[in-house]
């Protein structure tokens, strides 16, 4: 059992308390589940103005080699995306794969151009998985590639329709950068990295900043009347409405990207050439279809919210799957869920019964995201 004393704190811990946060254990850290506004209003606030999230618990690391290409080739052995051809300052969502094609973690991969002009592969991984990931990546690296873990940086996410307007005040260079790109810049006078990405389905930025300057950056942002801190509770309902996976719930070591409806992370060149961990299973599933598939689910009438673990049934009463994430979506104003069903039941509109406390409620398979995707220059709802 983990006691409070074992939990790590981010550099923003005192700020959370000062702002009235309710703190909870999460991935080995003590983090805010919500502030005084509460989950529902924080969620709605982020969709209408701009929210600030402490995501410093996530793991930041770099692969450093003689050349970018060397580092890219090394990571391509365990991810199915095109890292080699990733343009400078561009980033991509991907999955770290095991030899069975299961997902060890989902992560962000960046073709980073450092302040000194060198090019490296930047990684951001999930908090709960970072020690595991670092060991896993390390064990697959050739000797000439270094995995540099950066514990000296905090990470802030600024998310919402007004995010660009707000960041412009202190960081003009961030204005107009493309979705899924990253720049080395300064926030007022603080050297930092700013990327345009997020986990809410809204426009937004992530700011990676040295720990010793992080509080200043957060306080500058919070000096703006429209910026409010948002906790993990709303982060979860926002990502659920956006249809994004939560590692350990919607994806794990046993699920493949094809099953998880993340086939788009498998790049065209790499589909042809293979040569990544788990390629055998993944290429077969792409060809023949997977046995089960992740789908979005909405109630067809009044229904109790379906939580993780709720069982899914076909009209004939046979069990066909399970909910992996579910709850209440403040923006859609009702229950929503995602889960896995046998592929025969994965097409849009399929009627599915969801069992909650022994009672079956009628639901149906629906498209994700549940709320319109409003990222900058949004084209595909499937980017992360």
């Amino acid at each position: 059992m983990t006691t409070k004393n074992d939990l790590l704190k981010t550099v923003f811990f005192d700020l959370h308390l000062k702002k009235g946060a309710k703190m909870v254990p999460f991935s080995g850290y003590e983090l805010p589940i919500n502030y005084e506004m509460g989950i529902k209003d924080e969620h709605l606030y982020c969709r209408s103005k701009v929210g600030l999230f402490d995501v410093s618990h996530m793991g930041q690391a770099e692969l450093v080699a003689e050349s970018y290409d060397d580092a890219a080739r090394a990571i391509e052995a365990i991810v199915p995306g095109d890292v080699l051809k990733l343009q400078p300052e561009r980033m991509r969502y991907s999955c770290l794969l095991n030899k069975n094609g299961g997902i060890e973690d989902d992560l962000m991969i960046t073709h980073r151009v450092k302040a000194d002009g060198s090019h490296v592969v930047g990684l951001v991984v999930n908090a709960a998985r970072k020690q595991h990931d670092y060991r896993y990546i390390q064990s697959h690296l050739p000797e000439n590639i270094d995995l540099k873990i950066d514990e000296e940086r905090a990470l802030l996410a600024l998310q919402g329709p007004d995010a660009e307007k707000v960041i412009a005040i202190w960081c003009g260079e961030a204005v107009g950068i493309p979705y899924m790109s990253e720049i080395e810049t300064t926030f007022f006078d603080v050297p930092c990295r700013v990327s345009r990405c997020g986990y809410t389905g809204e426009d937004g930025f992530e700011i990676s900043v040295p720990n010793d300057q992080a509080l200043r950056v957060a306080e500058m942002l919070l000096s703006h009347d429209d910026v409010k801190l948002i906790g993990l509770g709303a982060r979860d309902s926002l990502r659920l409405e956006a249809g994004f996976c939560l590692y350990g719930h919607d994806i794990d070591e046993t699920t493949s990207p094809v099953e998880a409806d993340l086939s788009w992370v498998i790049n065209k060149r790499r589909r042809k050439a293979g040569g990544f961990s788990g390629a055998e299973r993944i290429l077969t599933e792409l060809e023949d279809g997977p046995a089960k598939r992740r789908v979005g689910l909405l109630p067809s009438g009044t229904a109790a919210p379906a939580r993780e673990g709720a069982l899914l049934f076909a009209e004939d009463g046979s069990q066909i799957g399970v909910v992996t994430s579910g709850g209440f979506g403040p923006t859609i104003g009702g229950p929503l869920a995602m889960g896995y069903v046998l592929s025969a039941y994965a097409s849009l509109g399929t009627k599915i019964d969801v069992e909650v406390r022994g009672k079956k409620y009628p639901w149906h398979v629906t498209e994700m995201p549940f709320t319109p995707y409003r990222t900058y220059n949004a084209k595909q709802p499937t980017q992360h």
Partner: protein, 125 residues
Amino acid sequence: MSKTYYSNSHEYVRVEDGVATVGITSFAQSQLGDIVFVEIPETGTALNKGDEAAVVESVKAASELYAPLSGELTAANDALVANPALANEDPEGEGWFFKLSIKDEGDLAELMDQSQYEAFVKESE
């Protein structure tokens, strides 16, 4: 004259003319956060003290309302089912869950009065 009693699982019972009105306390709703769904048994259901009597779903999680005393359910608050946020906005008023005909007045003696409950909440905070 009505009198209000409290359970250690944060239900209140307001007793008026032999009828008990049951709901969750203001403290309970503040701990649960935004309530988005409630499920209340049908009229006529016999409840025993300590039974899981209703379901309260907040944005965070599902939890139960336990029957603070035994009796037969004589009315469910349909307005609450239609608008679960009433349990946040006015928990001890419009946000009541159900009414019970009291089976055993003795059950009430095992509940707390307002000042005892306030002390209990202070302790658990």
